[in-house]
């Protein structure tokens, strides 16, 4: 298959390219997808993986032979929330 160019953006929110991921893997030698995330901020932007999760999972599988498609965690809030609503929810909680 044609190789993706190094300049292709994998994580749109944080603007992380394939080249940056390859360089980070070479220089910092993360041992897992989670470590790669922490050193590059891959998938850690505004969308919180709602757009890029399949791309990042595919990177994890290719680079770390991580066969688990479900490895990355899901965190609350699963959608962006304003602090005002967060506080209000706390008040309303029984």
């Amino acid at each position: 298959m044609p190789t993706h160019n190094d300049e292709v953006i994998l994580c749109r929110c944080e603007g992380i390219t394939l080249g940056q991921v390859r360089a980070a893997v070479q220089q910092l030698q993360p041992t897992s997808l989670r470590e790669l995330k922490l050193v590059t901020r891959l998938g850690m932007g505004m969308c919180q993986g709602r757009v890029c999760r399949p791309i990042i999972q595919s990177v994890g599988q290719a680079m770390f032979q991580d066969r688990s498609e479900t490895r990355l965690a899901y965190q609350i809030p699963t959608r962006p929330v304003s602090f005002g609503d967060f506080v209000k929810a706390d008040d309303d909680y029984e």
Binding site: P2, N5, T78, V81, D85
Partner: protein, 405 residues
């Protein structure tokens, strides 16, 4: 707000469930992020047998059915961002608030599926959009995404939406294949992509239908696909270009073209490259079920490729591993709207039994399960050629979980 049932998602499955629950007399909260109920039905419009499948019309029928039950409260333009156990059942956190928390004795999760993106060089340029977004623009809002576009990635959704775009008078340079590399491979190898199109069903979408069954043989498929003309093979007016791969989007301020490459016969290496003018690009990596609320609620899930992704392990009544939490629709596997509606009915009947303290013996679900199977057989689109195997696999996982301590 306290209700007996919260339904998350007002697409075909959620609407069908809410309609049945309303008819059974329950107090229901029906929650959806979008201002208009109907989910992905709203954009669907294609020829099916000798009829036109009009999703908007289908949605209206389902909505009208729900509206006659005044115990169903509509909570539109609100997202559920948390789901956790409460003394009375479940607590759902909503954004924007008012009510900010909905308490429900049972929950039906009908959150559907989301699109898989395909990364391309320059895909952040204005004019690159998910194929589903192009569908919503065209079919829901009546706005053409551009004059001449291209669809990158071949799957049932690409074909259905390309047909809609053509019908709306938009020109297409065809459906081309998605690129990959040793580091990023979202939709699989070229042959993986070909296999998915060969398995396509629906309205005679495959003119090589007579050749279709031979295409299950790898060498026949690879020979025919790699020898297709560069301009593609017409499939119901849409040009499929099985040996042409998109390598980059071109443009500076916005999309002005697409860089394409032809694949050499056996080894999938690039033979030649050229540019074609387009003013929009649709990326289409297919659909995946949305598992976020299941994972947040610690529901047991499994990765089932035939169901297009991570799905909850459910009982024949649609109940997840967490009591009182039911799942229906594309969130339990990507299938057509007809299947989602039938699953919505089943889930509602499961919830009804659960709330009334009646038996959830799975043999009692057989009539509803049979209706789902019928809907599956009648569906205009099969999103995966081996959906039946995926359903069987999920059922085996459920039976296995019964034996687990």
């Amino acid at each position: 707000m306290a209700v007996e049932v919260a339904v998350v998602g007002a697409g075909p499955a959620g609407l069908a469930a809410a309609g049945e629950l309303g008819a059974a007399g329950f107090r229901v909260a029906l929650i959806d992020e979008y201002p208009i109920p109907g989910g992905r039905l709203l954009g669907q419009r294609y020829h099916w047998k000798n009829l036109v499948w009009d999703g908007k019309q289908q949605a209206e029928t389902l909505v009208d059915n729900v509206r006659q039950w005044h115990e169903v409260r509509w909570l539109l333009q609100r997202s559920v961002y948390d789901l956790e156990r409460a003394p009375s059942g479940w607590a759902l956190s909503l954004n924007p608030g008012d009510p900010s928390v909905v308490y429900a004795q049972a929950v039906v999760v009908a959150t559907g599926a989301t699109e898989v993106p395909i990364p391309l060089v320059n895909w952040t340029l204005p004019g690159v959009l998910a194929v589903g977004a192009a569908q919503v623009m065209t079919a829901v809002y009546g706005v053409a995404p551009g004059r001449r576009g291209v669809v990158v990635g071949a799957n049932p959704l690409s074909f259905a939406i390309a047909e809609e775009l053509l019908e709306a008078g938009v020109k297409l340079a065809g459906i081309v294949m998605a690129p990959g590399s040793e580091n990023v491979d979202v939709v699989g190898s070229l042959d993986d992509q070909w296999q998915r199109i060969v398995g396509l069903r629906g309205g005679g979408a495959w003119p090589l239908r007579t050749l279709g069954r031979y295409m299950t043989h790898a060498w026949v498929r690879q020979f025919l696909m790699s020898h297709a003309p560069k301009s593609g093979v017409p499939i119901r007016g849409v040009r499929l270009r099985p040996n042409v791969v998109a390598t980059a989007v071109e443009g500076t301020e916005r999309v002005t073209g697409i860089r394409l490459a032809r694949i050499a016969d056996h080894d999938e290496s690039i033979r030649e490259g050229w540019s074609e003018p387009v003013d929009f690009v649709c990326v289409s990596g297919g659909l995946r079920p949305v598992p976020d609320l299941f994972r947040i609620a610690r529901v047991k899930t499994a990765w089932v490729p035939e169901l297009s992704g991570e799905v909850p392990v459910i009982s024949p009544w649609g109940e997840t591993s967490q009591t009182g939490l039911f799942a229906v629709g594309n969130a339990i596997g990507v299938e057509s709207a007809l299947v989602a509606i039938a699953q919505g009915h089943l889930g509602a009947h499961g919830v009804t039994r659960y709330l009334r303290g009646q038996s959830l013996d799975y043999r009692l679900a057989e009539p509803d399960q049979h209706r789902i199977q019928l809907a599956r057989e009648q569906s205009p689109i099969a999103f995966h050629p081996k959906i039946g195997q995926g359903v069987e696999h999920l059922r085996a996982l459920f039976l296995e979980s019964l034996g687990a301590p």
